[in-house]
Amino acid sequence: MSDTHAETVAFVRDTMLEQKSPPVTLIGPIGWARANLFSGPFNTIVSVISVLFVAWVLSLILPWVFSPTWNALSLSECREIVGGGHGGACWGVIRERWLQLVFGFYPQELYWRPILTFVLLLAALAPVLFTGVPKKMLWLSAAFPFLGAWLLWGGTVWMPLAAAFGFVLGFLVIRYASALTGPLIGLILGVAAALLWWAFLAVPVANDLGRLIPLGLESVTSREFGGFMLSITIGVTAIGVSLPLGIVLALGRQSDLFIVKSLCVGFIEFIRGVPLITLLFVASTLLNIFLPPGTTFDIILRVMIMVTLFAAAYMAEVVRGGLAALPKGQYEAADALGLDYWKAQRLIIMPQALKISIPGIVSTFIGVFKDTTLVSIIGLLDPLGLSNAIRADSAWNGIVWEIYGFIALMFFVFCFSMSRYSMFLERKLQTGHH
């Protein structure tokens, strides 16, 4: 029966058609270009103008960058090679002076010390920044501030050890006194013990030990510091110290205690209201007036303190933003669990608040690192300060773009990688559902 019926229909397809690929103009590079560059007459014109603009910029920069002057020994030699005018860059200056731009006037035979410090810095940062690293390395992170300072400045090994011992002492006192007298008194005693140690005992003890067992490195004065080493030293110190300080200030600003709050607000608003350069003037000219007569301490240390305070005020505002963005329910939930203030902060509030403020924190870091160039104004020889010295050299007199370009490139690499890391961290800590 079905046979006869089948003949009433001319053709019945019993298999699916092969899927056709989309038209060439919609996929691949062509489709992409049509969608993103030539989607309309206006867009097309804009694209063409942009291409011309990029080509023009590159035609200016590329021939200049690729000039065969790597081995030149002076600007006039460069000019001979490229044939006069401003036709090409003079890279000889970078080849000859890059060590100076990186290390300043640090003694050449001791270069291994800053290099080792930098390597140790990376190793100390690794367990803080990435999760795949063994946690035991955190001990290195804790020891690094003292180790790094000792390696850079040299001198007796007992000084950093004495400084570190202050922390150990404070910790021990807090631990054992708390058991006897309760946490608050224990804390006060511990802090007092550490401060007394640093103020009165640390230096004599370190000196005596140094006489007994003279163990140390050749010391290097701060005047010999310079270049990117100086920028990184100041930047890393300020970044490392300003985060905890900023958190404390932010908590102070958010607290219910009126006097503590007003002190924190006053400090933060004052520091944020004045330019960093005025604080550096304070460091270079006024600090010795504020301190007891006869106190002299290192200009780099003074600058570090000021940059740190400056960064801490900004950090406090960033962290406060994170605290304010946290729903009130989180605070109430912590209270409901019966956690006291510090436990609630440590276990519930801070992990979330800091996560929210990662972009702000990292951009503050970047800002601090960039602001280390300001120390050239008060006469320290950071890369920018050194560039003036190099330009004053008779062999390189008249050179401009190569040095600035090199410095800019180095800063760009550091800052750009920091901002990329913050994006990575944000993605890693992303726990919301989107």
Binding site: V260, L263, T278, L286, P292, K370, T373
Partner: protein
């Protein structure tokens, strides 16, 4: 037999200062206050002692002494016989000048770049990303000295404009000269000017400028009333009368009439001897600082604008389209007004940053407050404490004023819910 009564419940014991939450906060605060006061007292004590040893008691008398140095870029009359106080005021005005100029250009560039970063055109968006990343990741001080170097190295010297067949010519209809010493731009002059008015004998303000501003602002206000009336008509009838020719005329005609009445003309820069005369002379240092600060801050503003626009949900665009608003007006009528609420607070802090960064003028020799009061005056008088504290106070005041004004504006554009 005697009994020792127990301490009655609820009476105060000393340990309650620490263990009772009612008193503990008080204890902590008083300890903090005492610590703070001790610190301040210690610092002040040290300072007084040190100053006494140095033989320099705090004294602001140096402000009235003649400064003895020249300031080449200035807004008010000044010569080397003027006092340090006047030098500081010149510096402050220079700071404000570059800050205001910088804020305006940075906003314009920043908004344009921020909007273009969201352009559907891939190439344009990428170019803008490159601009933003390059400027954000390199220190502003480097940009300032770099811009200064560009101006000095690439522009022609004034001598290049001389001779019958000069190497360089004036730009823009012979009205502007860009030289490696600075820019010469046309100067507004009046044949029948009203002269200047002296404010307290300290400086002069041009009456022409005041008259022009009064007329211009007045006509703006009238134009706004016309626009309001059109709004009222639209509310009642649903049809909006065409008012823009009327408003344009109200804004332009009175100002033009005033300018003609005052005999307005442009004083063009002319080559006189080895240099240019006439016109307004903007020094290299001002231009470099202005350009570098604008471009640097604009990169940050661009990111703020972009974030602000992205914060507005897509539904708003779609709703605007559904209401029949033309695509090209969606941005100005729907997106930007809402994005503004997100944009304004960080924008304020960028303005503050720009103002504070203008203190880097000292790197290119622009005589701002840092260069005069905290620079040469400090070095000449040796009064570190007074000058640096005064400088900090001035910057603090400027910052607070900008914050207050901008917070007030922020309040006025805030979303009003019920």
């Amino acid at each position: 037999m005697t009994t020792v009564p127990d301490t009655p419940q609820g009476s105060f014991r000393l340990s309650m200062l620490i263990y009772d939450t009612r008193y503990r906060s008080m204890t902590i605060q008083i300890i903090a206050l005492i610590g703070f006061l001790l610190l301040v007292g210690w610092l002040i004590n040290n300072t007084l002692y040190n100053l006494a040893t140095l033989g320099k008691p705090i004294d602001f008398g140096f402000l009235s002494e003649p400064a003895g140095y020249d300031i080449n870029q200035r807004l008010i009359e000044y010569n080397s016989q003027s006092s340090h106080w006047r030098a500081s005021v010149v510096g402050l005005l220079n700071t404000l000048l570059v800050a205001v100029l910088g804020c305006i250009t940075a906003t314009v560039i920043g908004v344009v770049v921020g909007v273009l970063r969201l352009s559907p055109n891939w190439l344009v968006a990428r170019i803008m990303t490159v601009y933003v990343e390059i400027f954000r990741n390199v220190p502003v001080l480097l940009w300032i000295v770099f811009t200064m170097a560009i101006l000095i190295e690439t522009l022609p010297a004034p001598s290049a404009f001389r001779g019958d067949d000069p190497a360089s010519t004036l730009k823009l209809f012979d009205s502007m000269a860009f030289t490696n010493r600075g820019f010469y731009i046309p100067e507004p002059l009046f044949t029948r000017g009203l002269g200047d008015i002296s404010v307290g004998g300290a400086f002069n303000i041009s009456l022409n400028l005041i008259a022009f501003l009064v007329v211009f602002v007045g006509s703006l206000l009238i134009a706004r009333r016309v626009s309001r009336k059109a709004d009222a008509v639209q509310e009642q009838t649903g049809l909006r009368p065409r008012t823009w020719p009327q408003r344009l005329a109200i804004i332009i005609l009175p100002s033009t009439a005033l300018l003609i009445a005052l005999g307005f003309y442009l004083g063009l820069p002319e080559l006189k001897g080895f240099n240019f005369g006439g016109g307004i002379y903007m020094r290299n240092s001002l231009i470099a600082l202005w350009l570098a600060l604008s471009l640097y801050t604009a990169a940050f503003i661009a990111e703020i604008v972009r974030a602000g626009i992205l914060a507005i949900s897509k539904g708003q665009t779609e709703a605007a389209a559904a209401l029949g608003i033309k695509p090209r007006r969606v941005m100005s009528l729907v997106i930007l007004p809402q994005a503004l609420r997100v944009i304004i607070p960080p924008l304020i802090s960028q303005y503050l940053n720009l103002t504070k960064n203008s203190s880097l003028a000292i790197a290119v020799g622009y005589m701002d407050l840092t260069g005069t009061l905290m620079g040469i005056t400090l070095n000449q008088t040796g009064r570190e404490l007074e000058t640096v504290l005064m400088g900090m106070l001035v910057y603090l005041t400027i910052s607070l004023i900008i914050s207050v004004v901008m917070n007030w504006y922020n309040e006025s554009v805030k979303l009003r819910e019920r």
